[in-house]
Each structure stands twice: as structure tokens, then as C-alpha cells.
Symmetry: C2
Subunit: 693 residues, 2 copies
Amino acid sequence: MYPITLDGSSVQEKREEIKKYFNNTFDLYEKVFELLKDESVFYKKSEPTRHPMIFYFGHTATFFINKLINMKIISKRVNAEFESIFAVGVDEMSWDDMNESNYKWPEVSEVREYRNQVRKLVCDLIMKVDLVLPIRDDSPMWILLMGIEHERIHIETSLVLHRQMPIEFIKDVPAFNLCSHWGKSIKNEMLEIGGDTITLGKDKKHTLYGWDNEYGIYNEEVKDFKVSKFLVSNGEFLKFVNDKGYENKEYWDEEGLKFLDESGAKFPHFWIKNEDTFEYRALSKIINLPLNWPVEVNALEAEAFCRYKTNKEKLEYKLPSEAEYTVLYNYSNLEDVPELHESRANINFYHYASSCPVNEFSFNGVYDVIGNVWQWSRTPMRGFKGFEVHEAYDDFSTPTFDDKHALILGSSWASTGNLIMKHSRYAFRKHFFQNAGFRYVISSNENESEDIYESDALVSQYCEFQYGDSHFGVENFAISCANVASKYAINRDKALDLGCATGRATYELAKTFDKVEGIDFSVRFVQVGSKLKDDAYVAFSSVQEGELIKNKKVTLKDLGYESLKDKVSFWQGDACNLRANFTSYDLIMATNLIDRLYNPRLFLDSVDERLNKDGILILTSPYTWQESSTKKEFWLGGYKDEEGNEVKTIDSLKSILNDKFELVHIQDLEFVIKETARKYQHTISEVSVWKKR
Amino acid sequence: MYPITLDGSSVQEKREEIKKYFNNTFDLYEKVFELLKDESVFYKKSEPTRHPMIFYFGHTATFFINKLINMKIISKRVNAEFESIFAVGVDEMSWDDMNESNYKWPEVSEVREYRNQVRKLVCDLIMKVDLVLPIRDDSPMWILLMGIEHERIHIETSLVLHRQMPIEFIKDVPAFNLCSHWGKSIKNEMLEIGGDTITLGKDKKHTLYGWDNEYGIYNEEVKDFKVSKFLVSNGEFLKFVNDKGYENKEYWDEEGLKFLDESGAKFPHFWIKNEDTFEYRALSKIINLPLNWPVEVNALEAEAFCRYKTNKEKLEYKLPSEAEYTVLYNYSNLEDVPELHESRANINFYHYASSCPVNEFSFNGVYDVIGNVWQWSRTPMRGFKGFEVHEAYDDFSTPTFDDKHALILGSSWASTGNLIMKHSRYAFRKHFFQNAGFRYVISSNENESEDIYESDALVSQYCEFQYGDSHFGVENFAISCANVASKYAINRDKALDLGCATGRATYELAKTFDKVEGIDFSVRFVQVGSKLKDDAYVAFSSVQEGELIKNKKVTLKDLGYESLKDKVSFWQGDACNLRANFTSYDLIMATNLIDRLYNPRLFLDSVDERLNKDGILILTSPYTWQESSTKKEFWLGGYKDEEGNEVKTIDSLKSILNDKFELVHIQDLEFVIKETARKYQHTISEVSVWKKR
């Protein structure tokens, strides 16, 4: 099935279309898991750094519920435990908790039943949420489309994980049919492509769903270049392998050498060495190496191949840039979905559930401009000008804006939905495997310059707040809070900085505690503290006037945190539905958190269970309740009750916590957040310190 | 023609519909002015407190342009002078400048030509502005509908003004046909209406255009009541007149007595005494008093009649409340537009361009529930819960939330468009004449309590800023600015406080200057300073926590301004298109204004012309440019120029003003705006003082 368009004339028909598309997605995803030979395989990992397959089976369903809760479209969870354990851990990010001892995975049948419940709930919502056409990114239906497209991504990536498992774990499923023809290697050749001034970026009014990174605008003048007619085939790549390409260090950069070292790779991952010949691991079958199919490699291997070919031919080969690829796309006269018929390329499972020969699908003389396998580019993932996160999924892209994620272009046989759209942009770490290969170019187009400054305005504002200058004589708030914590802490083994934002207080608490965990709902923020730990610095911009900014950088050394960094760790988590393993703390500090939670009682009602004996809870808040964060029915104060009496937050805190805690200290503490060089938020939070009874 | 609905399936058809509706409105409005006998009448006033008719002829066209400019939908004016002189002065508000010496009215033919230009521009826009269905209040098309519905209001009110002019100024126009039948008085009677719990207020998703005051929610439990079957007819009212009702003071309240005193009224305004009988002034004709047509009176006369009838029958008669009227509306099984066929009532000019007998249009046994003439209610105009101003017209309703404006219900023969919708809510001062009469009720339902506190959150925040407490040791900003002005002023006759907001600095400047004018773009703000002058106090609420507020009141006496009040005056005006008569100042102070103007250069380029010799210009601003106020192309700083150089506002100010001014002083000045008891905006504005060369 093709993705639905956002416009239309009948709301009712659009609902039906979306329901059909959702059910097709959910069905297809479940079919992917039929490939696993039996239920025991759900508890195996495809890679040691990954969660077992049961995680993925549950993950896409919990995604719907977590986003719907977060966006306040629904207020009741389906299964709070599932929705915490299946929530995070997809990527190899330092803040994804992959310690299996922290997880108790449920039975497959339980997850299957859960998926049925979610399916019903989503179908009901599709038929009844407010809907105006065209659907825009502030519509509740957008969140449902987000869930669907998220699942479509996992259809493709799960198939890669399956393929990385031992063949004996996988069974044949008729729906996933291997291409049955392969043959001799095909000689590649270079085609001239005329340059062009191109504009990337999708308009907010585009009629197809898009992820945040697709919107905005980027212009580039692309000079003439040459491109390989075909994707690099297994046959073409075999020469590199036979020429000891994997052994020759000069073809590999630092990251590539690290990959070689850690993986011990001597040839592509899906090849199987069989004495002098190679076999090839398809999804559920092992076949002879199909020499005329595209090679599947990671970006480091693709780059190594380019260096090898450059060295051999004395012509500089490289991977195409995103802009060059766009010129190629235009050259190919390709229509976008839904005009493009799915038979035109090896996409959408239409022809095969595998690669096919690189000379099967031509577009104006260039083959596989889309489809067959993804094509690595030399362009790191970045936001276009005007980039804005979508509030429901603010960490879809921003963690990949780190110059370590390379764009993959063009989609594959397993791509569906948004993945095959003209404007889609996906990126992976260079050592990751996907259904991805490459083509090469000869080009004089420059690579874009690096930009490692934090480009997210809100995160930058928080960096300035936590790591920047002080104003109006008000001391750094993170430090002041950590000082209060230090004063009132009784035992000093482990502390939790809940709602840690960019992590300053987490480090400050590590001056007092042996171990400090920083948790925030948003990876946009968590990644700052984490980067400070990993890269020993953070860089951000501080707004001066209008759009004028001042770039700033602070280092672990400047901050005096070099000796503290091993005591801190950063995690993504939802304070209203925290995983069970976040427990046994001597102190929990929640700074400016409670008035930003969708349901603060969920946090407060059970926080005592996560504290050790004599544990201390510190809350700081200016009690600025707002409906955009917390539905009024969940406010702890700032309203009148049914009798007309004023309800103040501090009184509600006392009544909620009184049974389990003793209030030992209360004080005001100011903080100042800089918006521009002349405009500041100046706030007086109330600090309350509670000792567990 | 009926008003268009906001939804639909075809964008193109909707544009065509709107264009037709717009042209119909513009045509009908121009037809109304055909009633004026010749062009000289355009320069006559219907009432001494009003602008001449030429103002109204131009006003509705300039409204389109001023709103389109303000909302940044267009950026070029059609005729800047017309768009300033025809902009304000519709209502009898203290800030409407009605001094005719300040206006030079153009020729009728010039205004006619201007209207043609506007018609073309609006038609073009209707066909090309971004349009998504349904149209919502943040759509540019909403602004065009606003212009249309604004003109439809003036169709009705202009006809009332015409009717108030001497008959010899008016000629017959065939389109406006008088009802040709009238007869003897009809005995009224009371009908029982069952109580009900009713909800007022329109949903934001309603399919018809609405003014800000229609949205929100209000619940009331209405007890059983009795209502007059007919509107009060001229015949029924004649008894009151014959019984010396206008002479008997006990039937009149304070406001009513003031009306009697000022008007000398002895009988309804449209009656003409002819020895012992009465004649009746219709739109363009004088006829015998039509005894079975509804009497047209103002609210004060209607209330006096009720007191008279109460006194006579020893049963308490009063005007219906808005809630009671809604019960009556529901009782009548009335459909809303567009289902309601226009033949069902005396509305929309369908039957007549006049009243008609009160027993002609029955709705489930009650007559004229809608149509014929409006019906005064006893309910003062207020916003419902959830009331929000529309940013394009933030003073449509708020100046009427003063407990002095009474709602009129049910529409008249001259009502079209929004005026005949179920949810529409219009209110007038009680001494105003409209196509309005009344019916009476016997009811035990209470009147709503008075609420004279400023209910507009943003205005309240500004009241707190200008009249409230100081915080963080930062002095009152309005006073500090006036002190700077006092220090640098050379001559001290007349000062202008431009962007005066709630007016505090206007009063403070009056300590130094003989005369001070305060001007703000928004009447929401202007009315505060004005109220302080007229009523000797202002009342506002200050947010403490969430929705909890603290009510505050300051008086002229507390402020020590009793002796200053006659030196200040407040006016509505647009700093980028100020009327020519705002001139000859010794000092112009623009506090926190320039970065909120849609085009600050328009102000700065000519401000010197409004200053006397040795005049002083004071600008204060934190230079917080934002696209919601000022399109980026009009920013004075906070961006990089084409060469990549940083452009700062202060440098642009120097280059713009340097030819005409000498910069004599520059300093920082802090201010603090309270959002809640714990959250503040703390800002450092830059004050620059410029002396005219």
C-alpha cells in the first residue's frame, strides 16, 4: 500500500483510508515477526548491543500510546509497564539503557494481546479524533500518522535485524519472496550529469507526511559531475576484497579502522566465506553470491572502496552528496509518491523481498536511482534552514545532527511509506548495516563545512542557563540546587537528577554523591550532558539581538568536571512512567519539573519507593501551571476547588507527600534564563526538601 | 444574500462564493449611500457627536486595508491619508477624536474611486490568499470575512444614521421598499415559557464566521418565565406617552434622567408630533404612526416603560435577559442561518426596508423572535468564559465590557450576514438608537452581578506593570522614563506618549508638560488610561499562581493625579500611519514601541515633522525583534546584511535619525513585568534621547 495523502475532500473517506493504511502497517509488521522460527527467538538479540527481538515487537505499539499520552490525546495508558520497558533503546545512543538486567521481558502472547488492544484503540481514534483536511502537523491525526510511519521504519530495520540473526532462527514466509535471478557481474560506467541550482526541503503544506528534518529550505549550486550508472555490485566490490581492500589501512579513516578492529571484517557483512568462494545471506536463505546484485556495506566500507578506486585510477571517486543526488533525481524524471507506480523500482516489496540485479530498473539511463538498496551519501545529517522539531517527537532527528550520522538516499526493496518519498531523509551511524550499498561520483562539489554548535534554540537557551553567565547577581541555579542537596543529603551513594535538562546539576551533584543519574524526557536535552561526558565539551549559541548570536563553548576541564565524569550517566525517561530499575536513590532532585509533567501525581505518588531509607526528595518549582504541559484536571494548584477555595501547589504537595515524607526545609531560590542580551526570564522557584519517613 | 459557511469541499468554489458575498456587501453598502439626496449631504452629520457621512462612506473600505496591513497580509497601503482619517471615530468613545478641525474630508468622487481600488484589491486577494477549508480564525481569509461582516454591520447602522437625518436630505431608492400596510394597535399578552438549563457561546469550530465575543462558554439555569407574545407596538407604547411616562421621574433611573435632560425627549425619537396626533419617520418617508408596528426606542425608554407597566399592574415587568432570550429562541424551534429561510422573518431586506406589523411573523406562537426590530435585553455585554480577543480586531468587544453596554437581541429588517446568526451578540450604550424596540418578561431570574475588573489578561498584566508593585528593586518603568523625559525636555508645552499602553507615563509626563497626549494602537490599552481619567480609578487582576488572581484597584487620588487629569488625553492611533493633526510636540516618547511596529521606518522617517524646534525624541527598547510583530525585512537590527556583517538596532537608529537629530544621551533602563507571583520578565531597555537639529 502507498502512503496516504494529507489532503482530500471527504473527512470520512480520509478516516477510512488512514484506518486501512494503519491496519496494513500493523499487519505487515506482525508478518515480519512471523519470520522468527519460534517464540524463543524473540528473546535472542541480532547484535550484542541490541535489545532482543521482543523489544521491537512491542516497541512500535507502545510508541503510539506514549505519543498519544504525551500529546494529551488520550489520558489513560494501556499498560504502563510495557510502555516504559518498550519505550527506549532503538539506537546505539549512550542514553539508551541496554543493560538487560534492568528489563524483565514479558511473554510473546502478552505482547501480542497488547498489540491487539493498541490496534483497537488506534482504529477507534482514527475514526473519531478531530479532523480537518488537509491534515497539518498540529492535528491529532498527525500523531497517528507519525505512529504509522514510525512503524514502517521498523518494518525495514527489523528485517535487517532478522537478516543479521543466524539462519536457523529464521523461517521462510511466503510473503517475503526472494528475487530468483542473478548472474554475472556487470561493468559499471560513469555518466555525465549537468549541474543545477537546487533547493532542498519540503514545504509545510506538502501533501505527504514528513519528519521534522524534511522541512525548511537549503539551496546549493551543484556543478557538473559524473555518476556511476549502476549501484556498486557484489561483483564490482569483490575486486576490492580480492585486492585486500580490508587489510590496506590507507583506504580507511580513523572511524573505519575502529570498525575493522572491532568487527574483524574482511568482506561485507552479508557475505559468507566458503573456502575460495562466497555465499550470500538473504533474508531467510543462503545463496551463491549474486554478483550482479548491489553490494550491501556500511558507509565506512563504501568510503574505503572509493579510496581504493581513486588510488587505482588516479581519479577522485567519492560518495554522492545529498545535493548531487537531488540533481540525479531530477535528471531521472522521477515522479514522487503516489504518482510513481510501485512497479517502476525495487521498492515497497512489490517485486521482491530482496535485492535484484543492478541493471533491472533504469531511470533515464541511470539505474536504481530509487529502490533496490539505499545509497550512502557523503553528507552528514543536518537540519535545513528553518528546521523545527515536532513537539511530539523532538528527538527524532536532533540526536543525529552530530556530524557522525550520514544520510542514506533512495530507499530499498523493504522501504514503504515515508521511506520512499522524494523528500524523506534518513541517516545512520557509518558503521551501521542497513539494506544499503552505494554508487560513486567524480565531482568537484565541496563537502559542506562542519557545524558542531548546538542548533536547537531552546536547547541553546538551556545551555546558556546552565553553563553560561549569571545575570542580575543571581547565582547559577544548577549549582545552587546542588548545594541545597549537599546540605540536606543524609546518605551519599546514589542520586537522581530528574528533569536534568542539559545536565549541569547532574555533574554538580557528583561532587557530593558517588553516582548520579540524570534523566530527562527529551533526548534533545539529555544529549548535551552526555556529549559533555563523551566529547569533553559542549558548544552552543547565545542570542544577542534578533538573529544575532554569540557562539560559546565550555569544556569538562573549564568546569572542573574531569574527575566527575565517570560518576554521572544520562538517560531518557518519563518521570510519570519511570522504568522500575531507576531506584535505590539516597536523593532525588526534581528541579522545575512538576509543573511541566502531564500528570505530576503519577510521579509524586510513588517517588518514595525509589528512595532508600533516610532518602531525600528535593522539589523546586515556580508553580507556573500551563495547559500546554498539564491538563487543568491534573494541576496541583493554581485553581479554585468546587467550594470556591483557592488551592495552592505547596498545600497539595504537603497533602500528597505528608504520609511518606517529612518537610524539613523550604526556601525561595531565584533563577534567570537569558532570552537575548536584553531580555530575561527572572523566576523565583520554591525549594522544598522532604525526608522519607 | 446569506453569509457563507466556513467549510466546504472545494477551495475554488469557496473563493467564488466569498467573492460574490463580498461584492454583494460592497454593492449594498454603496446603495445605502444612494439614499443621500446629493453629495453635499455626505458632509452633514446625522448627530452632532458623529462624523459626517463621508467618514462612513470611506470607513468600511479603509477597514479592509488597515486590517490587512496590520496582519501583514499586504504590505503596501492604497492611500495612507484616507487610511488614517477614515480609521477611527465610529463609537462615542472618549478616545475617538471627533474634533472636525483635525480632519480634511476628501471629495466624494475621490472616496468612490478609492472604494473601487479597494474592491479590486480585495477581490484579487480572495482569489489568491492561502486557503484551507474549513476557514479558521487564524486564516488570512478570516480577515477578509471580518472586513465583509464589519461592512454589513455598517449597512445597518448607516441606515439608522440616514433615518436620523432631516427627511429633505434623503431620497427614495427603489431597493429600499417600505412595508405598505399598517393598522390598529394589537393587544399584547403574556405566554408561559418553561425554564431550561442553557449553554451560551459558540464553538471555535462552528461553520459560520463569528466575532470574538461569541466564543467561549456560559451556563445558566433559567427558571420558568412569561414573555410578551408581541414586541411592544407603537400603539402599546402610546399609552405610556399619553400617561406622561416621559415626565414621571420615578420611571427613569439616573442614566435615563440624564438622557431625558439632554435630549428633551417626550416621545420616541422616530415619532413626529403633529398637534394631537403622531406621525412616523420611516427611512425615506413620513407616514401616519403605524400603531401595529414595533416601537423603536432606546434601552432607557424601554426600561422606563417596564417600570410604568410594573407600577400600573403591580406585577414586575422587565426586559428579557440574554439567557431567557435563548430559551425563547429554542422554544421557537428556529433554525440558524443558512437553514432558516429568509422569508420566515422580517430580516435581510427580504420583505421590507422598514418594520412591519408585530403580528406578521410567528414562531411557535411568539412573534418576531427574530427580525422586525432588535430587542433590548437587560444583560450587559460581557465575554463568556474562555473569551479571547482576535488579534486583528482586539477592540471589537473589549471596550463594551464596561457594564454600560446592553445587548440587543434578535436582529431587524436591516440585519444581514453575521447580524442574523443565532450566536451573534451586539451591544450598544443604552441611550443609542438602533432599529431596536423591546418585548417584556415577568421573571424571577436574577440579573448577573457586576464585574468591573479588567478581564483581559494581557491588559491586566500591563496594568500591573504600570500601576502595580515593583520587583527585584527595579523602579516603576513609566516613572523612570518620564523622569528621563523631564530631565532632557527643553520646552514643556505639549508631549506625546506614543505606544502609551495603559497610560501611566502619560500621566507622569503631565507633571512636566502642560498637555500630554497618549496614543496606542490598541483600544484595549487606551481605555485604561482613559477610564482612570473618566472614572477616577482602574481595577485589574494580578495573576498569582495558575488561575488564582489578586484583584487590585488604584485611584487617581492614590496616584496623586487628580490635578493632572485635565492635562492628559488618550487616542487610538497607528504610529506607522499617524493622522496629520498629531503634531507640534516638544517631546515625543516611544517606550518599547519600535520593535513592535509593522514598519518602524515609517515612524522614524517622519517623526521629526511632528516635533517643534528644540523638540526631543526619546526611544526606549530592548530590541526584541520578532516576526509576529515585524516582518524580517523591516527589522532595524538583529540580522546580518548581505556582506555578512552584523546589523545592530542602535546603529540603524543612528543612521536613520542622524540627519535630523543629535543623539544627546544613551543609557540602559531595566523593567520588570510580572507574569505570576513567581515568574517575571526582566528586561534591559536601551534609552536613547535625540534632540531635533
